[in-house]
């Protein structure tokens, strides 16, 4: 037996979440239609900059953000980009998918009460950094780089959905929880909800599988490759965002994840060396 105190999830919360998952009765946010359409188009052979920009025109907020990011110094723009088509060309079709999903999750998708808004804000910001770290971990471990971004981006999106559900539950039962009371619940229950979100957005299966097992992969015989990848990327992101004084050190990283991904100290150090730049890119993307 380990020494960690047992995780206590208030029974009403556990019962409610389990029921909702079982009955497929979760209130999952919808991916904006434009994002859905871009995802679909990009999976077909017909995707080109013109068609994608036509779709993007349908959502002012997403289109505006794509323009802003295309013109940012981080995307290497030397001349001013003035059309959406040009922006798509600059950023690349595959990156547009990542970007559009990222922009959607950074927007007003998760309506939670004021007391939990800081949590959602943190999740959003950390998710972007995790997504970028996940790409680099994938590159180093020869895993799929495109999938890794979405795995990192969405790995914690079960949390705001759970908070929305708790809000509803509080209203219904008159219970009132503070963050300390429910943090264990969030940690334990968010992964299954996040996986369900990926399913409802029709994302490729490895994304949901990795998100679902991000916290319990150590116990699996054959864990999905993305699960330790998310673990490691989110840990790098957490350290990078947590303490501005200290650089991210490879010694602080989860040995189990490193072992699972076959990453050695020099490779871990290389990953840690990228964090400043990734945090900067994430800030640009998320601003």
């Amino acid at each position: 037996m380990g020494n960690a105190p047992p995780v206590i999830v208030p029974q009403p919360i556990r019962t409610e979440v389990e029921r909702r998952l079982r009955d497929d009765d979760l209130d999952l946010p919808v991916l904006p239609k434009v994002a859905m359409d871009v995802l679909q188009l990009c999976r077909s052979a017909e995707a080109d900059a013109q068609k994608i920009s036509d779709i993007l025109h349908g959502d002012q907020s997403i289109a505006g953000n794509v323009m802003r990011i295309a013109n940012s110094p981080l995307s290497g723009a030397s001349v001013k980009i003035t059309s959406l088509q040009q922006a798509v060309s600059r950023l690349g079709i595959r990156h547009i998918v990542e970007l559009v999903v990222a922009i959607s999750t950074q927007g007003k998708m998760f309506e939670v009460p004021a007391k939990w808004q800081p949590v959602v804000g943190d999740v959003r910001h950390a998710s972007l950094v995790t997504a970028l770290c996940a790409k680099e971990v994938a590159r180093m471990g020869r895993a799929n780089v495109e999938t890794a971004f979405l795995q990192g981006l969405l790995h914690d999106m079960g949390k705001p959905i759970l908070l929305m559900l708790l809000d509803e539950l509080e209203e219904r039962t008159g219970a009132e929880w503070d963050l300390d009371e429910i943090s264990a619940s969030i940690e334990e229950l968010h992964a299954s909800i996040g996986a369900r979100l990926c399913e409802s957005w029709d994302l490729p299966e490895p994304i949901g599988a990795a998100i679902s097992h991000q916290n319990d992969w150590q116990g699996l015989d054959d864990p999905p490759q993305g699960a330790p990848l998310i673990s490691l990327a989110s840990q790098i992101a957490e350290i990078a965002l947590g303490d501005e004084e200290h650089a991210v050190s490879p010694d602080a990283l989860d040995g189990d994840a490193l072992e699972q991904l076959n990453l050695y100290p020099d490779e871990a150090a290389e990953l840690c060396g990228m964090t400043d730049h990734l945090v900067e890119v994430a800030a640009e993307l998320g601003s």
């Binding site: 900059a49 994938a138 590159r139 020869r142």
Partner: protein, 470 residues
């Protein structure tokens, strides 16, 4: 206290290391196998033979369904078919192979360590785990079996997202519509023909005039014609890339030395492989490395340090799983003073393009060089009942005999089943038989093996003409 001394330490668990470790344990030695990756089996299982052949099997099945339907209905793959899901049984195949290899090690009481080894001296290695923990171990003998990795020239911008190497390629999770493959070797040609068969438009670019240049000209010509018969596929020989870049939108652009530009969704760089010696600190052990980066060994696999052996891809060609296993066993047998088995000359080459190609022994040109002449006989598959039944039209078998047209000295086969069929010739070569053996023997009917008889008759006819002075 746990001992840190072993009779034999093997570094790397691919085909060479795995067989070396088992050979040592079978002789009652205390053996440690150090492997950098978590799983056993090496590149062969993770990125090489096993996954590429599993993918190929899907492509072959698809193409045979297409052939059998003969235009009655079209079989196409949807755009977002994931490469991973095409390799239907890949995960299971890899898993069961890894389990099987691990069980073999356990049965033979071989200790295993997950970590990266480097030499501290000729008698000591340090093994570092991914967690950074290090352990020093000593042994009476070592086998270096660390294999190889893809060569990635600096001017090919490999990002594992748009431009892949032949290892990271397997992380792709959808089918591109078009693909550029750089290289004309076995790996380049195998992947090019598999993806072409799966409906991808493939451009194969190489600096040599023909791909698979080590083969008989006829075989590589047959490969090119089968490959180019597939829609959108072409071989661009005698072309060097000048610049490679991702266009920032959706295509990788390759500018060639003649000014042509080739574009595709993705690029795979298959420009050879380099030995994995980078972490070993071979200088500390005094082990010599060739100017091509391979560990230098003698005919017994012994390096410049007598108790350190090397086997497999790390010593250079032929860089085949089959040869690596043999080299691993031989190295340990020599280290332990055991009699050595057969020589390695007769290892067949199996090239799993579509159609398959396989060779053993000498080509016609090599035979002429060695014997001052050669007599060759061919059998076209479309003349055989079995090939007609199976719908195999594109293939042939060629026998190479000495200058008198008597002794078999080599065989080359192109066509489905070639890599199995070649073993008949290999046995005949091992037995130093005359080509007549194929005429005197009775084979099952209808089978592709009949091709041996047909080709041998062609050789004998020429021999008789030679004898008659015609």
């Amino acid at each position: 206290m746990e001992s840190t001394h072993y009779d034999l330490i093997v570094i790397g668990s691919g085909p060479a290391g795995h067989k070396a470790a088992i050979q040592g344990a079978k002789e009652g030695k205390r053996v440690l196998l150090v492997e950098r990756a978590r799983a056993i089996g090496g590149e062969c299982v993770r990125h090489g033979t096993i996954p590429s052949k599993t993918l190929r099997q899907t492509a072959v099945q698809l193409s045979s369904i297409r052939e059998r339907l003969d235009g009655l209905s079209t079989v196409e793959l949807s755009d977002d078919v994931r490469v991973a899901s095409l390799m239907t049984r890949l995960r299971d195949v890899v898993r069961s192979h890894e389990d099987y290899l691990a069980r073999q090690l356990d049965r033979n009481d071989i200790d295993r360590m997950h970590g990266r080894a480097k030499f501290l001296s000729p008698d000591e290695v340090e093994v570092q785990s991914p967690r950074g923990e290090a352990k020093v171990l000593t042994a009476d003998a070592f086998v270096i079996a660390v294999g190889s990795r893809p060569r990635t020239p600096d001017d090919v911008p490999i990002d594992h997202e748009n431009c892949f190497d032949s290892d990271s390629w397997l992380s792709m999770n959808y089918m591109p519509t078009s693909l550029i493959v750089l290289g004309g070797g076995v790996i380049a040609c195998e992947y090019a023909s598999v993806f072409a068969t799966l409906g991808v438009e493939v451009t194969l670019i190489d600096k040599w005039p023909r791909p698979l240049g080590f083969l008989d000209e006829g075989l590589s010509a047959r490969f090119v014609s089968s490959f180019e018969a597939l829609p959108g596929c072409s071989f661009r020989g005698e072309r060097q890339y000048r610049n490679i870049e991702w266009d920032g939108v959706s295509k990788v652009r390759v500018e060639l030395d003649n000014g042509d530009v080739v574009e595709a969704d993705k690029l795979m760089c298959a420009l050879g492989r380099v030995a994995n010696v980078q972490y070993l600190d071979l200088d500390a052990a005094g082990v010599e490395v060739s100017n091509r980066g391979h560990v230098v060994v003698d005919e017994f696999g012994r390096t410049s340090v007598p108790h350190i052996y090397a086997a497999g891809d790390v010593i250079g060609p032929p860089a085949l799983a089959s040869a690596s296993m043999h080299q691993g066993r031989q190295a340990v047998r020599h280290a332990l003073g055991l009699p050595l088995g057969s020589s390695i000359d007769l290892i067949p080459a199996g090239i799993f393009t579509i159609p398959e190609i396989s060779t053993v022994g000498l080509t016609e040109a090599q035979a002429i060089e060695r014997f001052g002449g050669a007599v060759c006989g061919e059998a076209q598959f479309d003349e055989l009942a079995r090939a007609q039944i199976n719908g195999i039209s594109n293939g042939y078998l060629r026998l190479v005999a000495d200058a008198e047209g008597r002794k078999l000295v080599g065989a080359q086969i192109c066509g489905e089943g070639a890599t199995e069929l070649i073993h008949v010739a290999q046995m005949a070569l091992a037995g130093q038989m005359d080509v007549d053996v194929f005429i005197e023997s009775i084979f099952n009917f209808p089978t592709l093996s009949e091709a041996y008889r047909v080709a041998a008759i062609a050789v004998v006819k020429q021999r008789e003409a030679l004898l008659a002075g015609v």
